[in-house]
Amino acid sequence: MNKEKTFIISVSPHIRSEESTPRIMWSVSVSLLPAIIMGAYYFGPHAIFVLSLCIVSSVVFEFLYQKTLKKDITINDGSAFLTGLLLGMNLPASVPFYIPIAGSFFAIIITKQLFGGLGYNIFNPALIGRAFLLVSFPKLMTVWTEPSASFIKFDALTTATPLGILKEEGYSKLIEIFGDKANLYTHLMLGNRAGCIGETSGLALLLGAAFLFYRKYITWHIPISFIGTSALIAWIFGGNSGLFSGDPLLHVLSGGMILGAFFMATDYVTSPSMKSGQILFGTGCGFLTMLIRLKGGYPEGVMFAILIMNCFSPLIDRGFKSKIFGAVKKK
């Protein structure tokens, strides 16, 4: 925390700014609030329990690591809090208590701190935490609770996610379950469908993303190129009856696409810093997501797509260097 307040020497011009790491981290956490409320509303008290367990264990692991290694304790900067929150939002509501703890341990200690702490991690910690859990506990991590919208009903039913149904039983079955197309989109927008705690409600996530756009914490480049590419591929190759017969809106609204595109792929540390590089990054994410969804073994591919593109972001940064004004081109 003290690191933020130290005297920084840099080249002019200087602009006075209120921005700092904690401020950005806490703002992002606040912007996720609508999605959390919707998740809690549909999945009940156990969702809140999972979320708080993730946050608490993330912060505790960061504190313990920094305490043990006698480093500056930076739990107040909100980054561990945000990692825990994002990890929790990416878990199904029905997971037993040890899964959030194991995921937080892997996200904070292995992915973030062992690589040197905030700013040095190659991969998005929350997503690596989830990937670790998905590979380690494949059964438990794919038990989806049916949204009940009631705090009293405890014995929740399990069901498949829209993408799971799409993969296993096809598009017509999905329409059959939800009634008609308009009804399906409404359900996806509001979040009344099976899925991870924080990814279901498209509308709430877009509300949070709008706040981030307003504060200029994220730019349009990554999310729009991500979602645009996915929609395009879904439209061309996603259908059963030949080319250009897919349903792009279904693919964009279902799964973790909106959460991933606006909140995960835009992570400052693990995405390219140049605008042109960001568009390439987003396009790659969209392409890989659809590749996994349409051709791969998993019904959902956003997580793996972002992680794979994370390891390309240093390379992309090298390819799209900023122009140095006044420099002479080497011959």
Binding site: A102, I110, L114, F132, V135, S136, F137, P138
Partner: protein, 204 residues
């Protein structure tokens, strides 16, 4: 080096700790990830390498005056492949079950950087007995590293050891998958160097 009296204990210790093939030199990482998803394979692989390393070192130190320096590397390779073939065939004859799982990796011992490196650096310059001890040290170091990695991977990934069930669950499935192999090797390498660094500081 030839005239100097060599402390055999130090030579062995050097192979196990100071120049541990996997943890210190970071060589031969391919088999250390590929075959270590259960303890039995790890130990068998380590023993195979130990045998090849010792025999290669002995052979080359005996032959070292007859090898022309210009063609030494092809000759070393021939010697190594000879001993690997011996290991390969004996294993196929005496342990066919294990051979089915890891036969490919036994043949891969030919390409191990660590074996060629010891032949070049030690066996071609030293006499018979020190070369043998060097081979034992390096081989034991490899065996130790492989056993350690496969011990943790099997225990965490399958909940068993040497095929016998220890925990009645599969705690972290990821550790028997290749990704878990990288994680396990990385963490153990870090721990080994951390502990060894402390020990070195203390003894100096």
């Amino acid at each position: 080096m030839l005239q100097k009296k060599i402390n055999y204990y130090e030579v062995i210790k050097n192979g196990i700790f100071k120049e541990n093939t996997i943890f210190k030199l970071a060589l031969s990482l391919c088999p250390s990830i590929a075959v270590t998803n259960n303890l039995r394979n790890g130990v068998l692989m380590g023993s195979a390498v130990l045998f090849v390393q010792v025999m290669v070192n002995i052979t080359i130190s005996i032959m070292r005056h007859f090898i022309h320096p210009r063609i030494r590397l092809p000759i070393f390779m021939l010697v190594i492949s000879g001993w690997v073939t011996v290991t390969d065939m004996s294993m196929a004859a005496f342990a066919p079950d294990a051979y089915k799982q890891m036969g490919l990796y036994i043949q891969l011992i030919v390409a191990f950087a660590s074996i060629l490196a010891r032949a070049e650096m030690f066996a071609s310059k030293n006499r018979f007995i020190p070369s043998m001890f060097d081979g034992i040290g390096m081989g034991l170091g490899f065996l130790f590293a492989l056993s350690l990695i496969s011990f943790f991977r099997e225990l965490l990934g399958k909940g068993s050891l040497w095929g016998y069930e220890i925990i009645n669950a599969k705690p972290l499935l990821i550790f028997i998958l290749p990704a878990g192999g990288f994680i396990a090797v990385g963490i153990l390498m870090g721990m080994f160097n951390w502990i060894y660094g402390k020990y070195e500081k203390k003894s100096s």
